[in-house]
């Protein structure tokens, strides 16, 4: 059952998770997103999260706080968050607004963003079993 609007989809992109925010977000959507993302990070063991905001025409303190909260929560779960696709007008506005985004890394493109995140070799996909290796 949907809790107050459409859910923002979270895609598994190899060893990373990709979130694309395109719509105006309401408070409940933001909370739902954070909960969904926490669950997916734990479930997949993903160590990197990409948040694509190229569709956002503005980022205000609410969205800014959400991004900072997501980054903090992901870090607690040993995942790095990179925000990609910030529009120039948004970047300028954020600076003038004085909105620091602590713990939020940014990159211009998805490719550059992925370069900031752990590579596939660094990930174990939530398998808690120890290596079943015999010998030493």
């Amino acid at each position: 059952m949907s809790e107050g609007g459409p859910r923002i989809p979270i895609l598994k992109l190899g060893h990373l998770l990709l979130v694309t925010i395109q719509v105006d977000m309401h408070d409940r959507m933001a909370v739902t997103l954070q909960e969904d993302l926490t669950g997916r990070i734990v479930e997949t063991g993903a160590r990197g999260v990409l948040i694509d905001i190229s569709g956002l025409e503005l980022v205000d303190s609410f969205i800014g706080r959400m991004l900072a909260d997501i980054a903090a929560m992901a870090r607690v779960l040993d995942a790095t968050t990179v925000v990609v696709g910030m529009r120039p007008a948004v970047a300028i506005t954020l600076v003038e607004l004085g909105l620091a985004l602590p713990g939020v890394r940014t990159a211009l493109t998805v490719e550059r963003g992925m370069a900031l995140l752990p590579g596939p070799g660094d990930t174990d996909f939530g398998n808690a079993r120890e290596d079943e290796r015999t010998g030493d």
């Binding site: 105006d24 025409e57 503005l58 980022v59 205000d60 303190s61 609410f62 706080r65 900072a68 529009r87 120039p88 007008a89 948004v90 300028i92 506005t93 003038e96 607004l97 004085g98 909105l99 620091a100 602590p102």
Partner: protein, 117 residues
């Protein structure tokens, strides 16, 4: 939030540059949020302005909330991730061309912003 759409359209009509549009709509978003979060809900009115050949957009936010006892202080407050009274006021002020705020503790707050083309 509908406030943003209304003001975005007005900004387009007035011919504001994209960066000024973005700043204005972001300021509107902050002020509308303040009205709801700190003011217990309020009203926004907005419209086009024409002055000496210049086009602009005005927006007025009014609430009957607790008010802000020291507006100057609220304006100087830096942006923190915690919630403070008047959070976003200083930031919003920087994003628009004209800014005025009036508040009476216990009665409410009114904030008016204008951005020109």
């Amino acid at each position: 939030m509908r406030a943003r759409h209304v003001v975005r359209q007005l900004a387009l009509d007035a011919g504001l540059r994209l960066i000024d549009q973005t700043k204005l709509v972001t300021a509107v978003s902050e002020l509308a949020r303040n009205t709801v979060v700190h003011g217990g809900g309020g009203r926004m009115s907005a419209g086009l302005l024409e002055q000496g050949g210049r086009s602009g957009v005005w927006a007025l936010f009014e609430d009957e909330g607790p008010g802000i006892s020291d507006i100057d202080q609220a304006l100087q407050q830096g942006f923190t991730t915690g919630d403070g009274l008047g959070l976003g006021l200083g930031g919003a002020k920087r994003l628009v061309h004209e800014f005025s705020a009036r508040s009476v503790p216990g009665e409410g707050t009114a904030v008016r912003v204008v951005s020109w083309r």
